[in-house]
């Protein structure tokens, strides 16, 4: 808004100007996928914005109503493709709740580790692409170096690098090898050093702070009212994390970790920098969680015995409904299932974090400059695969 006043004061009424309509996307380097934002521009200032989604709609929910419960797990990977494990977890928990089973202890702890590793990988993308949005290309490559390490780690038990299909209803798909946990711990040590490097390169950069502080301020009340979750909500100073407040996996209740929230370090609470910094600190908290979890992985089954049998025969839960939500890297991902006793749910509904977080975009953009608009879109850290589903 400051910029708007700066540029509109002193403009005489007799200067005839025309509103410019600008289509940002769907093919644009910084809309993080196929988002299209229709902007009305007054010079460099955005006066109105309307986001247009749906370019990546793949009928994920309808597919869920047509395939079996166990077949849908890989589809959830393709919603928020940067945090596949976390999506699978939400789906698996919903199915488990519907069926009434609980994953064995070993699987619970493995789920914690893979989900937190996946959270780090996802936040690394957010960090790297945010640097690119701001015109700094180098952090992206550094982030990808560490993400590569995470993907190599997750590839060993899961067999694939990005869309794992590893967390499944009843437990996890495969057991880990003997060297996996020590390797994860080695990665944690390495990552902490790299994290300090990122901050030197980007987080503390004067230009970066000038570009993100006081930009796209999302006040606490507004964040709550619009249903924002995850780092976007926490960036506005609301200490709400399902891992801490509603431990959907019981190991989370036994682990020690902080929930970072925005503090308005460089400006107003809830600005782009706060959201960015929440993500950065969450990576370190994830490292803390992984360290503790690695020490506590017990031996035993990695898949519930009854569910293992269900993988051979169609799984037909009794009549009923279930809703489970998980703390995804981007916020709350919930799956709502209604079963009428058939092999597939008659209603399958996902509550996606990116979709809800994206809804504030239209009210954050007006009054910003176009460069701020890019900063705001980046700070919301959306994945269009999950927005459009």
């Amino acid at each position: 808004m400051e910029a708007l006043e700066l540029y509109t004061t002193g403009v005489k009424d007799d200067v005839w100007t025309e509103e410019l309509k600008l289509n940002l996307g769907p093919q644009h380097p910084s809309t993080h996928g196929v988002l299209r934002v229709e902007l009305k521009m007054d010079g460099e200032i955005i006066t109105a914005a309307r986001s247009d989604i749906g370019y990546l709609h793949r009928c994920a929910e309808k597919i869920g109503e047509n395939v079996s419960y166990l077949q849908f797990t890989p589809y959830t990977d393709r919603m928020d493709y940067l945090a596949a494990c976390n999506n699978e977890l939400a789906w698996s928990l919903a199915v488990e709740k519907l069926v009434g089973v609980e994953a064995p202890e070993r699987a619970q702890w493995l789920r914690v580790i893979v989900c937190e590793l996946n959270r780090i990988a996802s936040h690394l993308i957010a960090f790297g692409t945010y640097g690119i949005d701001m015109g700094a290309n180098t952090p992206f490559f550094y982030a990808f170096r560490e993400r590569e390490a995470v993907m190599a780690l997750l590839e060993r038990p899961a067999g694939s690098r990005m869309l794992y299909n590893y967390v499944r209803p009843g437990g996890v798909a495969h057991d880990i090898d003997a060297e996996w946990l020590p390797d994860v711990l080695r990665f944690c040590d390495e990552f902490e050093r790299r994290w300090a490097e990122y901050n030197q390169l980007l987080s503390t950069n004067r230009i970066f702070i000038a570009r993100t502080a006081n930009v796209g301020v999302l006040p606490r009340e507004m964040a709550l009212a619009w249903g924002c979750t995850g780092p976007v909500l926490r960036g506005s100073g609301v200490r709400w994390d399902l891992r801490r407040d509603v431990p959907y996996l019981w190991p989370y209740a036994e682990l020690e970790f902080d929930v970072p929230v925005g503090e308005g370090t460089h400006g107003t609470l809830g600005d782009c920098w706060d959201r960015y910094w929440v993500r950065m600190r969450e990576m370190i908290e994830s490292i803390r969680i992984i360290r503790q979890a690695c020490a506590r992985v017990p031996s035993g089954d990695f898949m519930d015995k009854n569910m293992a049998r269900a993988y051979k025969t169609p799984l037909k839960p009794a009549k009923g409904e279930a809703y489970m939500r998980c703390e995804n890297p981007r916020g709350e991902l919930g799956f709502y299932l209604v079963s009428e006793g058939g092999a597939s749910p008659i209603r399958c509904r996902a509550r996606g974090p990116s979709f809800c977080n994206l809804s504030v975009l239209e009210s954050l953009l007006p009054g910003c400059m176009i460069a701020d608009g890019v900063a705001i879109i980046g700070s919301l850290d959306i994945v269009l695969g999950e927005v459009d589903r």
Binding site: L6, M134, F141, I207, M369, I370, A371
Partner: protein, 355 residues
């Protein structure tokens, strides 16, 4: 120029207009060749610098040794690409724009002394001339942005106009300080002066600041990060050259690298001794040694420009303007006035030391 005309007159027995045009052709040809070869090298260097900063290798295959021929291959590819002009574009302006952009920088090369006597035109107002013709480039950029009939290109062009206006002034003001000391606009005089008195950047406390201001402002003039707003990939796709492809695009690219060269060379010539070296006498072989020394210094500054580009985020438009007008311009004037006072009183680094 005169030397070349005389040379042709003596060796080929041509005189008058014929000798003159032959000399012109030789100069233009060699300059074009130099710029092209330099640009290819600089682009390869940029990729290597970027790659090594980003834990990559960059081009490694093309041509064998560390992908040295990558730029050549790219240039050939660009040459053979289809010549696309958007249907709604203003075809004449679209066609002229890359030429105008390139001409501005190319003309600047004419007045650059590479070593004693290695200069096409020894213009009295050489420095002034280079700054003046370099500003022609912005006209071409606005032409390109307007003619493309694309909103992103138009945004880029308008940003370029705003940027050049706010950065030419501090750049020129900062250059007044060394001009005050040397008392000439002729670039050769700067070299001669520094040969006698040492590097200008060390002459008084204000000149290092002036050098810094000029360097920062020249980054904006070359559209380099953190001032790459007219291109601003993450905001404006490619800015003013969004709609350009093939050879026309490569002219914009060539211009960027050529103007990097000019501004780096000006920093080296005006502040860092030009073709002279401290403690080393290059007068034994003034031409070859001078060229090597000057190019080496120039490439140091080109490297710094690349280094900054791959380290810093981009400023926002209003921050860029604020930086130009609120910080660089007042400090540039402080440098000019300070240098003037020091010169009038005959002071050096410390007031008591004396020059």
């Amino acid at each position: 120029m005169e030397a070349l005309t005389r040379f042709f007159g003596e060796t080929l027995d041509v005189h008058g207009a014929a000798a003159l045009s032959l000399a012109y052709a030789t100069c233009i040809g060699s300059l074009l060749g130099f710029i092209t070869v330099y640009a290819m090298f600089a682009i390869w260097m940029e990729r290597k610098v970027a790659a090594h900063m980003q834990v990559r290798f960059g081009p490694m295959e093309t041509g064998g040794w560390h992908g040295w021929a990558q730029s050549v291959a790219d240039a050939v590819k660009l040459l053979f690409k289809e010549d696309l002009i958007p249907a709604q574009a203003n075809k004449v302006l679209f066609w002229i724009a890359p030429a105008v952009v390139f001409c501005g920088v190319f003309a600047g090369f004419v007045a650059i002394p590479f070593a004693v006597g290695v200069q096409i035109a020894d213009v009295d107002l050489g420095l002034f001339f280079i700054l003046a013709v370099a500003s022609v480039e912005v006209v071409g950029v606005i032409m390109a942005g307007w003619a493309s009939n694309s909103k992103y290109a138009l945004f880029g062009a308008v940003r370029e106009a705003a940027q050049v206006v706010s950065y030419e002034v501090p750049a020129a003001a900062a250059l007044l300080a060394p001009i005050l000391v040397v008392g000439s606009f002729r670039l050769g005089d700067f070299n001669a002066w520094q040969e006698q008195h040492g590097w200008l950047v060390l002459h008084n406390p204000f000149l290092p600041v002036a050098a810094l201001i000029y360097f920062i402002a020249s980054l904006a003039g070359c559209k380099r990060a953190p001032f790459d707003l007219p291109e601003a990939e993450s905001e404006l796709v490619s800015g003013f050259h969004t709609e350009y492809s093939g050879m026309r695009f490569s002219f914009f690219f060539l211009e960027e690298y050529a103007s990097m060269f000019v501004s780096s060379l000006l920093v080296a010539t005006l502040f860092f001794g030009g073709w002279t070296l401290p403690f080393v006498d290059v007068s034994a072989a003034p031409v070859p040694l001078g060229i090597v020394v000057l190019l080496a210094k120039t490439f140091v500054f080109i490297f710094v420009q690349m280094w900054l580009r791959w380290t810093l985020p981009r400023l926002r438009v209003d921050q860029m303007m604020a930086m130009g007008y609120k910080y660089l311009l007042p400090w540039a004037f402080v440098c000019v006035i300070g240098t003037a006072v020091f010169e009038a009183l005959g002071w050096g680094w410390l007031p008591l030391q004396g020059a």
